[in-house]
């Protein structure tokens, strides 16, 4: 299984470690030449403004959009989720594929970054929120909440896309890796619920 990881900048290397751990092959995506034959896609955390700017040169977001709409399992974390949101407060709409409104840096600056308990599908663990965005509105019934921190929605699924505002790749806990393994294995049949 080949899992593409957007690698303009950000935590793409941490995601590649997760992918190697579960026995799949990470493919670092920078150009349109290496997005052929991918079985899954990951959009990592980083700075969404920088990723947008870099794409003006690399010009691959249209191809990624087609790939996502083809139905392959797609995971986004933090800035990656900002890229996929249909509405962005304090930022640009980039590859709109999830019916959510997201607010950038919603918890504040780095001094407000935290580790917090998260219910992720049917597991509870502690994950990092780093200058994290907040999912401030669900814009359609197709969006299912799959992760919460207190009352905050921190993860959603819409069709083949799972979008998170926290960083499971910095934990690589057993539950997350097992979930990721199955999510990618199910391929285009990935269940919506």
């Amino acid at each position: 299984m080949k899992v593409g990881i957007l690698s303009f900048q950000g935590s793409f290397f941490d995601h590649s470690k997760s992918i190697e751990t579960i026995g799949y092959s990470p493919v670092f995506i920078k150009h349109d030449t290496n997005i052929q034959d991918l079985d899954a896609l990951i959009l990592p955390g980083g700075e969404s403004t920088a990723m947008n700017k870099i794409n003006n040169y690399q010009n691959i977001f249209n191809d990624l959009d087609i790939l996502i709409k083809s139905g392959i399992p797609t995971l986004s974390t933090c800035a990656g989720t900002i890229l996929l949101a249909n509405q962005v407060v304090g930022g640009n709409i980039t590859i709109p594929n999830i019916d959510i409104q997201i607010t950038r840096n919603a918890y504040g600056r780095q001094t407000e970054s935290f580790e917090g308990s998260v219910s992720f599908f049917d597991n509870e663990d502690i994950y990092c929120f780093i200058r994290a965005p907040k999912i401030t509105q669900l814009l359609s019934d197709d969006v299912k909440v799959i992760a919460k921190h207190d009352s905050d929605i921190v993860g959603v699924q819409q069709k083949n896309i799972v979008a998170l505002t926290f960083h499971p790749e910095l934990n690589n806990d057993r539950y997350y890796l097992d979930w990721l393994h199955n999510f990618i294995k199910e391929g285009k049949n990935v269940r919506t619920f």
Binding site: F13, K53, I130
Partner: protein, 294 residues
């Protein structure tokens, strides 16, 4: 459950900056140019290193007004410098809610023996290093990110290359030694044993390592990336050049595409004048900023 400013959260921000370019800026206008050019963070300063070098005198933490102006003008993380050992400047920066503190040799040191105990702060710290001993001592003090010192404000990449090669060679020595040699290596490098053990466990430096000090062109940035740096700081190189916005963008694209000479050539075209460089040989020992730090 919620705990702020943990070690993991601090090192995590550095992970998010990976593969990116951090730019020195002296006001809101430059900060906006940097953000629009694709910087992953900015360093708010009163004077860029080339001017600090030219002006002489004591270089201190920038005025709070400049730092706040920059913090208010961009949505990317904002860093600021405190003097080596000046924990009160760091306390002030921390209270402003700065995203990263650079305990920097570019400013005049406030303590000739001790660095800041960085564990006690909410903001993560980045520190300069010329070798693995310095890097690991800073990590032991709580640094969440390391950068080469290079020789700031010179536009000359030679010292950054020297520091990166030294760190890489020494790191390889640690990674390939057997456990029985670890204490002796610690003695040789002046490296705390617990950090060497972390290096062994993780099979790499436990924090992100950026290039800094003398990077002036897209090719310089790509050179440091090919040498194994995780990202790049550009100080005087951008706003001391002929066309800052264009050069900033070119360095960002070069850092992402560091392994692609064709793209590096493309973005290096028609960039205007780079900053004027200084030969390291012409600097006296006292003028070398990399000597600061212990």
């Amino acid at each position: 459950m919620k705990i702020e400013s943990t070690d993991k959260v601090k090192k995590g921000l550095a992970e998010m900056l990976k593969g990116g370019v951090i730019m020195d800026v002296v006001n809101a206008e430059q900060a906006v140019i940097a953000e629009k050019s694709g910087a992953v963070a900015v360093m708010a300063l009163e004077r860029i290193p080339a001017d600090i070098r030219a002006d002489g005198g004591v270089a201190r933490m920038s005025s709070v007004g400049v730092i706040q102006e920059v913090m208010d003008s961009v949505s990317i993380p904002v860093m600021a410098k405190a003097r080596i050992g000046h924990f009160v400047e760091a306390q002030i920066l921390d209270s402003l809610g700065i995203d990263f503190i650079d305990e920097s040799e570019v400013l005049t040191p406030a303590d000739e023996v001790n660095h800041i105990n960085k564990q006690t702060f909410k903001a993560p710290f980045v520190c300069g290093a010329t070798d693995i001993g310095e890097a690991t001592r800073r990590i032991a003090e709580g640094a969440s990110m390391i950068r080469t010192k290079g020789e700031a404000g010179t536009g000359n990449v030679v010292e950054a290359v020297r520091h990166m090669r030294t760190i890489t060679n020494q790191l390889n020595e640690v990674l390939t030694c057997d456990e029985n040699q670890l204490v002796a290596l610690g003695k040789k490098f002046g490296a705390p044993l617990n950090v060497l053990q972390q290096i062994k466990e993780q099979n790499k430096l436990p924090v992100v390592n950026f290039a800094a000090g003398g990077i002036a062109t897209p090719a310089d940035a790509a050179l440091m990336m090919q040498l194994g740096c995780d990202g790049v700081f550009v100080g005087s190189g951008i706003f001391k050049s002929g066309d800052p916005a264009e050069r900033a963008e070119a360095i960002v694209i070069a850092t992402t595409n560091f392994n692609d000479p064709k793209i590096l050539g493309e973005v290096s075209k028609d960039l205007g004048e780079p900053m004027v460089g200084i030969n390291i040989d012409t600097l006296s020992e006292e003028e070398k900023l990399a000597k600061r730090g212990w």
